[in-house]
Amino acid sequence: MIEISNFSFKYRESDQPVVSGIDLTIPDGAFVGITGAAGSGKSTLTYALNGIIPHCYPGDFYGSVVIDGLDTCDVVLTDVSQVVGSVCQDVDSQFVTSIVEDEVLYGLENFGVPRDEIEGRVSRALADMGISDLRDRVISSLSGGQKQKVAIASILALNPRVLVLDEPTAELDPASSQAVFDLLARYAREHGTTVVVVEQKIALLSQYADLLVIVDEGRIRFADEPAKVLEHSDELKRIGVNCPRSTTLMNRLRAEGLYGGASVRNVREAREALKEVLA
């Protein structure tokens, strides 16, 4: 369970808090999507979840962030890291080795995973991400999408109880993005892992997340089931979050009194809803 209570944070070099008054409870095993306009404080929120704030970025920290009973302010970053696995936004600077296999090995070696488990975990993480054939490749020779998969694999290998990913599909094409979300959802189901994903692609988030969080100017504007959040498509647009066109269309039909069902998340659901409307 992750419990964020009245959390505010102001970076040392900024005048205003980047996030303020954040209250959020994430149950174990939940798949949470966080989105918002650029500069809304999404990444800062992930830094709070993986302990990077307050341990690496100095500033004024108010409230509390408790993960599996660990208050991130009371323990060292390494303690948080044993619970939370993180994939940063800029994967290029996340790599500490130059070969794919070594990158996946790195965390396993550090956390003292038994030797007889290591090979299995490396192979499984690479296979899960569909990059087994890249095992011996030099990381700098990979495409952006492949690098992102390597970064995710290196964290999945650690079997963290909580996964925090900051725009994990930023450099992936739509099919690969879908595949990554499929994998994350399956992984979370199989391992009971809590997944928190910051992502711009709201259509993907709403398809996979149990809880969709919209951040606006450092505050949580909505935190609910995706279908309920998507009902506010006009307001979301005003704060810089573009809903899928199918969602906007059905919301307009609802506003005109032509549709009374729940908000749709994709074209398939819109088609089904329209069939009902036209029937």
Partner: protein, 256 residues
Amino acid sequence: MSSFLEYVPGTSLLHRMNPVAKLAAAALFAVACFCSSNLVFLAVLLAVGFALAATCGMMRPAIGLAKAVFAFSLILAVVQILTTSSGAVLVELPWGYIGTGSLLAALTTVVRLVAAAIPLFLVFYVTKMNDITNAVVKVLHVPYKYAFTFTSTIHFIPLFMNDMKGIMEAQTARGVEFDAGGIVRKVRLMVPLCVPLLVSSVRKTNSAAIAAEVRGFNLRGVASGYKEYPFAGYDVAVMAVAIALVACAVTLGIVL
């Protein structure tokens, strides 16, 4: 094509050697270069360096490196020519003269620096950075923090070079002509680019440090490395040859 000092996969003997043996042999090779002033001996060492590069398919990077070291050592050579007056007089100077001995000393310096550099740089092309770190921690018991710092520095060189290339390409797209004019103009154009490069470099190293920390960097100990690095017969043989080269260099230095 790999970047500067970036590992190139392969199966040659140099690739398969123990990382510590490679480092030790390359260091001994460099010591041999600096222990002798015999031009013929140094020329032989230079040839051996290129032969080693050829055995692991690294001839092109070795030639590139040799050119870079040559350019750098030319500066030293010029200073040496102007300040060391020995041998038959070729050119009179107000403070002495340039002689055949001056030219020979300068040539020796150039050959020595190029010969010493090739095997040292070759080590990084044929060894995974992680293997170097783990091997020096496991075999030499160097504290992991120091080993990681050293290899991270090497790891970041190609990344920063790529960043610089990217910044230069962006500037070229905006009309800056890096390819026109001489070296002085090019350097003058590049100086302002050092600021964005420095900013991005600091950001990258900070992010890498955080990434290492969230993956248990502080928990790492001597026994953490998964791979083992045993010494094979050829590792011992190569080190013995390197020691023999040092002995030869010292002997030649005393006798000649």
